[in-house]
């Protein structure tokens, strides 16, 4: 790696890329900040310190953390089983677990409502017991788990597929049990995939709208996530307020992506 000269600083291709991305990506992102900043910094701070804006941001972050943790474990487990075991229906299952990417999120929300809601298939039996997952934080979490499931899987499974079984077999021959093999052989190799999977899940959950709007009931200070808050403010004509929260979301995602990108790069550099 050190033999090749440092990649020479090229100007034209990046410039071309930036020019194409300008109307597609960069200018719309910029517009968020322009509108958020219209009321000036004091106005921005005032907007963001409103209890419902604070709640929406916190609630979104908590759901995103929760979704990342649960799907991090579930997704890794699913990837492991689908990659390491041969069984009937594996191919079908593999396709099914990736479906949430293609299904419109509104449909996901509706189907969750028709399953768990008070008049739903399962919900009608739960309702008399006082269990009501829909229109509550549990419902939002369920929706986010469904919608973001494929991201973890997509990040981890290719790594597992590439990982040669000889390493595992070697571990077994020196007496490692299944857990130790997973902990000391597979997990370190998976690190990069896990990181990017968790990251994608977290970011996707932070921005999820379609399914959430159906299952949350959109209750301010109870189940309203940041994207729902943004939409509600936009509908009410408060464009500055909507964009202030949008700017915070965008900035949060940006910082997290930046930092984690650096970490993964360092890990890769040390590994190689």
């Amino acid at each position: 790696m050190n033999v090749t000269a440092k990649s020479k600083t090229t100007v034209l291709p990046p410039l071309l890329l930036i020019l194409t991305l300008l109307p597609l990506l960069l200018m719309p992102l910029g517009a968020i900040f322009v509108f958020a900043g219209r009321a000036g910094l004091p106005g921005l701070i005032h907007t963001l310190s409103q209890p419902d804006a604070q709640f929406a941001l916190r609630f979104s972050l908590l759901i995103a953390f929760g979704t990342a943790v649960v799907n991090g474990v579930l997704g890794t487990f699913a990837a492991y089983v689908l990659s390491k075991y041969r069984f009937r229906g594996r191919e079908t299952l593999n396709v099914i677990v990736n479906l949430p990417v293609a299904i419109p999120t509104v449909v996901v929300g509706t189907s969750l409502l028709l399953l768990w809601g008070p008049i739903g298939l399962l919900g009608q039996f739960l309702d008399p017991l006082g269990i009501q997952p829909m229109f509550a934080p549990a419902g939002v979490l369920l929706a986010h788990l469904f919608v973001t499931f494929p991201y973890m899987l997509g990040a981890v499974k290719p790594v597992l597929d590439e990982l040669e079984t000889t390493y595992e077999e070697a571990a077994y021959t020196i007496g490692a049990n299944r857990w130790q093999t997973f902990r000391y052989v597979i997990l370190p190799a998976l690190c990069g995939g896990l990181f990017s999977g968790l990251l994608l899940t977290f970011a996707h959950s932070l921005g999820e709208f379609g399914a959430t709007v159906m299952v949350s009931g959109n209750l301010r200070l109870r189940t309203q996530t940041a994207p729902l808050y943004i939409f509600a403010q936009f509908e009410a004509g408060n464009i500055e307020t909507a964009n202030a929260v949008a700017a915070v979301l965008a900035l949060t995602s940006f910082v997290i992506f930046m930092l984690l990108q650096r970490v993964t790069q360092q890990r890769n550099r040390r590994a190689s």
Partner: protein, 365 residues
């Protein structure tokens, strides 16, 4: 135990003798601190000890244009009054979106205790779906009507088309922007206005029909909701928009209005209905919910409505707002026999079955 001690001390010695790679440490610690900080920020209100005393809550769903007024004025006023009376703190859990959407959500089972809908038709849907046992809102003060707002015509600045009433909207060359009656509650009110205002001014049923047809021949753009159609009008479509007075007034106060209000000689007052969903109210909640519902008709609340551009059900209070225009011959849906009559007779029977077919494909999209 001893084992653990040795383990820890050796680890500590190794740690102390290690050359600290500060940049490396910072680079690793920064993301951890950042994510940790983010997490602490997120859970902060739920941490034990941080959380304040338990407060009582009221869950309210409302149609969209109420949002600002309820959050900024009505809720705080009730909170103050309730705390003064009982010493308890009340928090409002609320959601605002289109009246039809709110109704659908309640049919699907959202835990609303009180709802404010933009037309009684939606409340009647709740009865049909079994959410309400009967039209219980009619037992509330004023038959459940909490406030009103008339339907007016919004025209371009300086009124270049010289539009003075609904009749002028039937002239050739005038473009009308209209919400879609299939989805919008506001559009249903507008239809009644376009039709019945003629009869209020002494016209016949045929003349009323001719005006409704004339207006609809001029419809150049439709959108799903009153809000969306406003956006269309503002982005340059058409010469006139039929909409709620309150919406236009609130825009004017915010300095965002580009256009002029034209008050028709005769128009309908939309009436907004309060619905109490008993099945979602725990027995211990009744005192609070009932007090809040009663508060919605108190003078304090009614004055707030007037401040925010809605017309109070108490006519005397409306004088407090100088911006309200004069409508010589106003009417309400009860003059048409209520929505149970007006919907099948005017909206379905006349507009949908007679006007729409005449428009063919040349008229409304």
């Amino acid at each position: 135990m001893n084992n653990l001690y040795i383990k820890l001390t050796t680890r500590w010695r190794r740690w102390r003798t290690m050359r600290t790679n500060w940049p490396q440490l910072v680079r690793l610690a920064l993301p951890v601190l950042l994510l940790g900080g983010l997490f602490v920020y997120a859970v902060w209100p739920w941490l034990p000890g941080v959380r304040g005393a338990k407060v009582r809550t009221v869950v309210l769903y409302g149609f969209s244009i109420l949002g600002e007024m309820m959050n900024d004025a009505v809720f705080p006023a009730f909170q103050a009054e309730w705390e003064a009376r009982t010493g308890e703190r009340v928090e409002f859990i609320s959601a605002f979106s289109a009246s039809g959407t709110v109704t659908n959500q309640m049919i699907l089972g959202v835990p609303a205790e009180v709802a404010i809908l933009s037309l009684e038709l939606d409340a009647l849907r709740l009865v049909n779906a079994g959410v309400l046992p009967a039209p219980t809102w009619r037992d509330l003060p004023h038959g459940g009507v909490v406030n009103r707002t008339p339907f007016i015509i919004l025209v371009r600045p300086d009124n270049p088309q010289a539009i003075g009433d609904f009749a002028d909207l039937t002239r050739n060359g005038v473009g009308v922007v209209h919400p879609d009656p299939l989805t919008s509650g506001g559009a249903q009110w507008a239809l009644l206005s376009e039709y019945h205002s003629v009869r209020m001014l002494g016209g016949s049923d045929d003349e009323a029909f001719a005006q409704l047809l004339g207006v609809w021949k001029n419809v150049v753009a439709q959108a799903a909701s009153a809000r969306a159609v406003r956006t269309q009008f503002e982005s340059g479509f058409g010469d006139a928009l039929i909409t709620y007075e309150q919406e236009v007034l609130s825009d004017r106060w915010r300095g965002r209005l580009r256009g002029e209000i034209v008050y028709p000689q005769s128009t309908i007052f939309s009436e907004h209905i309060v619905v109490v969903l008993d099945r979602n109210i725990a027995p211990a909640q009744h005192d609070l919910v009932d007090a809040f519902v009663a508060f919605l008709w108190s003078e304090t609340a009614q004055r707030i409505y007037v401040d925010y551009g809605f017309r109070s059900v108490d006519e005397a209070l409306n004088a407090a707002n100088p911006d309200f225009g004069v409508i010589p011959y106003p009417f309400t849906v009860s003059d048409l026999g209520g929505w149970e009559q007006a919907k099948p007779y005017i909206v379905d029977g006349i507009w949908r079955d007679q006007v729409l077919p005449l428009l063919g494909t040349g008229g409304a999209p």
